[in-house]
């Protein structure tokens, strides 16, 4: 095998956060692990490990409020009543794709403007947005941020139904819906990607809260850890759990009332020895495949990274998952013309290779999201204006090509057939 390919065969990002608490896998215990794996790696250029155990968690909004604003001077905002919540989470290794559908009652006899702070984590990447008004369902489109704002205001001035989602400097996502016509309800459906934190033995998935009112709330979570799951902990929420396979389970919950705190699902994986799961998928556009590498296990033990060798894994760039322990998203490059075989697993090795059938679209978007996060960090420390502009341009192109909101892109939707 090509030495250079082997050299970068398995780059795992090291981010031993200074804020780590002293938990298994903390900074002091990471050193021998890194040294051992460097030795194992032989000619690898780099071996990085992401570890943020004990790092402060970013809270979801306890509640999301849709405020109706009137253009009349002195008028007060009116909070709309949430009438239904559906949450669907798909987890692959340490990557979560969450879809939240909220239905609000609109008790107005005239058109109104709405403002809404999305109840999603600040480090998430918004990847899809749908709005349903009066039986019509329209998907928003990613655009450059300035262009999206200009179009939104132009449409609103013309009395058209329009929506705009932008990321605020605070990190929160603000959605504005202009000129909502007289209707009974409005439905907002948003999808986002987020890392699944790992605290010790447990992976944790926080789902947005729903107000503690008598409204139907449905939650489903399809979790594929890539390694056997030993147990689940869903706290006070009586989820039903269907174990489809040792490493996969579907959890569901239907309630007649909301829950005030964000709903947390935890699952514990076997950590007797380090074990990884490499999820791979083909790029829909026919380009290089993408992968998600998730590693579990007690830090300090020896990992058989050579299990990856037959797959010619060559990350395009070192990337890391925010708020996670050991995970990496990247792109695979194959020097040979023949398509590699990714399906199957070998229990004698520590890396299980799985086809990412469910979240095929999410892996390229997760890759783009991490590239953008890296570019944003670089642009914040860059002082040369031309280089800053070049970084912003790269962010813009990456976000537009993968259809997600970043600092320089927004989602906009304009219903050209609506009139006030």
């Amino acid at each position: 095998m090509n030495q250079r390919v082997r050299a970068v065969l398995c780059s795992v990002v090291l981010l031993a956060a200074a804020s780590c608490e002293s938990v298994p896998g903390s900074q002091t215990e990471l050193e021998p692990f890194v040294q051992q794996n460097r030795a194992l790696a032989g000619g690898w250029d780099e071996l990085w490990i992401v570890s943020r155990q004990g790092a402060p968690r970013q809270d979801h909004r306890a509640d999301s409020r849709l405020l109706a604003t009137s253009t009349a001077p002195g008028a007060k905002d009116v909070e709309l009543e949430l009438t239904r919540v559906d949450i669907r989470a798909d987890v692959l290794g340490r990557l979560g794709s969450v879809r939240v559908r909220q239905v609000f009652a609109v008790p107005f006899e005239h058109a109104v403007d709405l403002a809404y702070e999305l109840a999603i984590p600040e480090d998430a990447a918004v990847t899809d947005l749908l709005v349903r008004v009066g039986g019509r369902r329209i998907r928003a489109v990613v655009r450059e941020r300035d262009e999206a704002e200009r179009l939104y205001h132009a449409a609103r001035a013309r009395g058209l139904l329009a929506t705009l989602v932008t990321r605020q400097p605070s990190g929160r996502f603000l959605q504005r819906i202009g000129t909502v016509p007289r209707c009974n309800s409005i439905e907002v459906e948003v999808e986002y990607l987020n890392g699944v934190p790992w605290t010790g033995d447990w992976c944790e998935l926080d789902l947005p809260a729903a107000p503690r009112r008598p409204i139907p709330v449905n939650v489903t979570a399809d979790i594929e850890a890539g390694v056997p799951i030993e147990e689940f902990d869903t706290g006070e929420q009586p989820f039903s759990i269907n174990r489809a396979a040792p490493g996969r389970a579907e959890l569901s919950l239907s309630r007649a009332t909301g829950f005030a705190k964000p709903c947390r699902i935890r699952w514990r994986v076997s950590v007797a020895k380090p074990h990884g799961a490499l999820f791979v998928c083909r790029d829909a556009a026919g380009g290089d495949p993408y992968f998600l590498l998730t590693v579990y296990g007690p830090v300090g033990a020896k990992t058989d990274w050579q299990g990856l060798a037959p797959y010619d894994v060559r990350p395009e760039r070192a990337t890391r998952m925010p708020s996670t322990a050991v995970a990496m998203v990247g792109r695979l490059r194959h020097p040979g013309k023949s398509a590699p075989r990714f399906v199957g697993s070998n229990p004698s090795r520590s890396i299980t290779v799985l086809r990412a059938e469910r979240l095929g679209k999410a892996l390229p978007q997760a890759w783009a999201w991490l590239q953008i996060s890296g570019l944003a960090e670089r642009s914040n420390t860059e002082s040369e204006p031309r280089r800053v502009e070049a970084l912003l341009q790269e962010m813009r192109e990456t976000a537009l090509a993968h259809g997600l909101i970043s600092y320089v892109t927004s989602f906009v939707m304009i219903d050209a057939r609506s009139r006030r």
């Binding site: 369902r137 329209i138 928003a140 990613v142 655009r143 013309r158 537009l400 939707m413 304009i414 050209a416």
Partner: protein
């Protein structure tokens, strides 16, 4: 020598004319509208007698004027959910849409599968062209369907 100079002059003139033409034809020289124009077009697929379960189409504006601002779902329940678009294609004023339905209740004949919402900020008439990339029935068999667009 004179003949060669003449040929060079002509080639230069042709180049300038070509640049001007492309500038005008592809929208670069079009005036910015005082108020952007918003409009929508409906996309229909006719699968004749066969049930339609999956499709992919490409709609392009050859004038390069229309910007997509929304994808609305179709009339049949199977395609009521708005189709997914390829964000990469938007850069070149192309809209690539795809949708599929795994249920048994699929539309037959001519059906509106999507409505595309556009905005136009420059003067001129958009020139839309639709192309069916593929269409398939519930059994995965490729259908000889037709796509058409209607303002």
């Amino acid at each position: 020598m004179k003949r060669r100079n003449r040929a060079l002059e002509l080639a230069g003139l042709a180049l300038v004319v070509a640049m001007c033409l492309s500038y005008v034809l592809f929208g670069g020289g079009r005036a910015v509208l005082a108020q952007p124009a918003f409009y929508a077009i409906d996309v229909f697929i006719d699968s004749d007698d066969a049930p339609l379960a999956a499709w992919q189409i490409e709609v392009s504006d050859r004038a390069g004027l229309a910007l997509l601002t929304g994808v609305e779902g179709g009339e049949h329940g199977a395609f009521a959910e708005p189709a997914h678009y390829d964000p990469r294609a938007l850069k070149n004023h192309r809209v690539v849409l795809l949708a599929y339905h795994l249920g048994e209740d699929c539309p037959v004949g001519r059906t509106r599968v999507a409505t595309l919402h556009f905005v136009q900020e420059r003067a001129g008439k958009p020139s839309f062209k639709a192309r069916l990339v593929t269409a398939a029935g519930p059994d995965g068999r490729v259908l000889a369907a037709r796509v058409e667009i209607q303002p």
